[in-house]
């Protein structure tokens, strides 16, 4: 037998050995857990994917106030001395929105108060993560050509551990940044990046909603495979991703803790060249 055939046989043996029958106890434990474990539902997605312009928001707020006002008058009756003319007027909106849109707050239902801060000099930001999660620091600068991979060692990555009721064990959250040519837009860059990370690039518009990070507006994309966010600040794109589908809340929690370092990224010696 020549070495090639012997090697093939040996690797086949390595892969074929043992029984693949799942122990009954494992299946029983899963089915028992399923009885008391609710499925995750995207109840908020239809609301969040609606993009409202400022005039539309103004109109919606005015209509809402008018409805509440009429309901209040019907409920409690008109106060003495007030006639029909006292119906609330759209002009009386208590607080008019600013003329320029402000970024939505990066709020999150997940409590990040006890999280610890990770500082990335390489990529120019700090970000918090749960104290029990494992940190996996980047070992080289990220590039699209070499590192378009959800397990890329060029990511500042955080690995979920058991014990969080809001995240599954093994969830990987990554953050990184990279410089782009002046004039580059996130949408333009995504045309090159998207095919490396998802098969839903033709539906990217419907999957995209707004997000904010440290006061900067960006895009959050709920891909079928995972959830990723992108922010363009000073000719640099910052990316934060949760590598499982549907983990938008987790990603938003991380984003709410992220801050850009005042001095920007600092060149860091690369431990090993990208593979």
């Amino acid at each position: 037998m020549n070495d090639d055939l012997a090697f093939e046989r040996a690797t086949r043996d390595l892969m074929d050995e043992g029984s693949d029958r799942t122990p009954a106890a494992t299946i029983d434990a899963v089915l028992l857990a399923v009885r008391t474990t609710p499925q995750e539902r995207d109840l908020r997605i239809p609301w969040r994917t609606i993009r409202m312009s400022t005039p539309t928001r103004l109109l919606a707020a005015t209509v809402l106030i008018a409805i509440v006002g009429v309901a209040a008058i019907n409920l409690f009756g008109s106060p003495a001395g007030l006639g029909v003319a006292s119906t609330p007027s759209p002009v009386s909106t208590p607080s008019a929105p600013p003329t320029t849109p402000s970024p939505p707050a990066a709020s999150s239902a997940i409590d990040t108060a006890t999280w610890v801060t990770y500082r990335s000099e390489r990529y120019g930001f700090s970000i918090d993560h749960p104290a029990n999660w494992e940190e996996i620091p980047a070992d080289h600068d990220w590039s699209l050509a070499a590192d378009a991979d959800w397990m890329s060692p060029a990511h500042e990555a955080f690995l979920g551990m058991p014990g969080d009721d809001w995240a599954s064990s093994g969830l990987r959250v990554s953050a990184w940044s990279f410089p782009v040519e002046p004039g580059t837009t996130v949408d333009g860059w995504l045309e090159a990046y998207c095919p490396t990370t998802s098969e839903a690039c033709d539906r990217i518009d419907e999957l995209t909603s707004r997000a904010s990070m440290d006061g900067h507006l960006g895009s959050l994309i709920s891909f079928p495979e995972d959830v990723q966010s992108f922010f363009l600040v000073d000719d640099r794109i910052y990316v934060v991703a949760a590598w499982q589908p549907g983990d938008r809340d987790v990603l938003e929690a991380f984003l709410s803790t992220m801050h850009l370092l005042p001095g920007g990224p600092v060149p860091v010696a690369t431990a090993s060249p990208p593979g």
Binding site: L14, I27, Q39, P224
Partner: protein, 184 residues
């Protein structure tokens, strides 16, 4: 996987999910066991992965992609389990051999032990590609799809894994040849 079953499970039908588990668990267990080289740890990982699959099923928009989607969650769970157990590399159990009786001499056993040791030293991402390709018989494009990586990356990982295993195999053969030469 049965599309109707996946859709029913996705809509919250626990009986459908139970059937789905019975249909998919052996395949998923086999993959986890081979990646981790530890049946006990693979059981834990499979359990976590299946519960995660149940929780996340409503997010699966294309039921036809269930298998690839489930593989990705499983590999995620493997990745999480491996580094958590710091003594993992030292305590892995050698898997039982079903084919030992096929050997006429000790050569395959020696090769297998060398490959086993070499495989344990592979990074988890290389193991995942190797197992999905050689055990689950997925073409590289499907491996890349399941793991969410470019096909070139999958090819590269398979190349490095194969190169490492082959080096271990060749070294094993060389040692055996040397031993036989001394005995002769």
């Amino acid at each position: 996987m049965d599309r109707d079953l996946v859709e029913r499970a996705r809509s919250g039908d626990q009986a459908a999910f139970a059937e789905l588990v019975h249909q998919a668990s052996d395949t998923l267990f086999g993959i986890a066991r081979r990646i981790l080289r530890d049946p006990g740890l693979a059981e834990d990982v499979l359990q976590n992965a299946l519960v995660t699959i149940w929780q996340k099923l409503p997010h699966l928009r294309e039921p036809d992609r269930f298998d690839a989607w489930a593989y990705r969650i499983l590999v995620n769970a493997c990745y999480a389990a491996a580094p958590r157990n710091r003594r993992w590399a030292a305590t892995v159990r050698v898997l039982p051999m079903d084919r030992a009786t096929e050997s006429d001499d000790f050569q395959p056993i020696s090769d297998r032990d060398e490959l086993e040791q070499a495989f344990r030293k592979l990074p988890l991402d290389q193991r995942a590609v190797f197992v999905l390709h050689h055990h689950a018989d997925l073409p590289l494009v499907a491996v890349a799809d399941a793991l969410g990586i470019p096909e070139g990356t999958a090819r590269s990982r398979l190349h490095y894994a194969t190169r490492t295993l082959r080096a271990a195999f060749v070294a094993s053969r060389a040692r055996d040849d040397l031993r036989e030469g001394r005995l002769a």
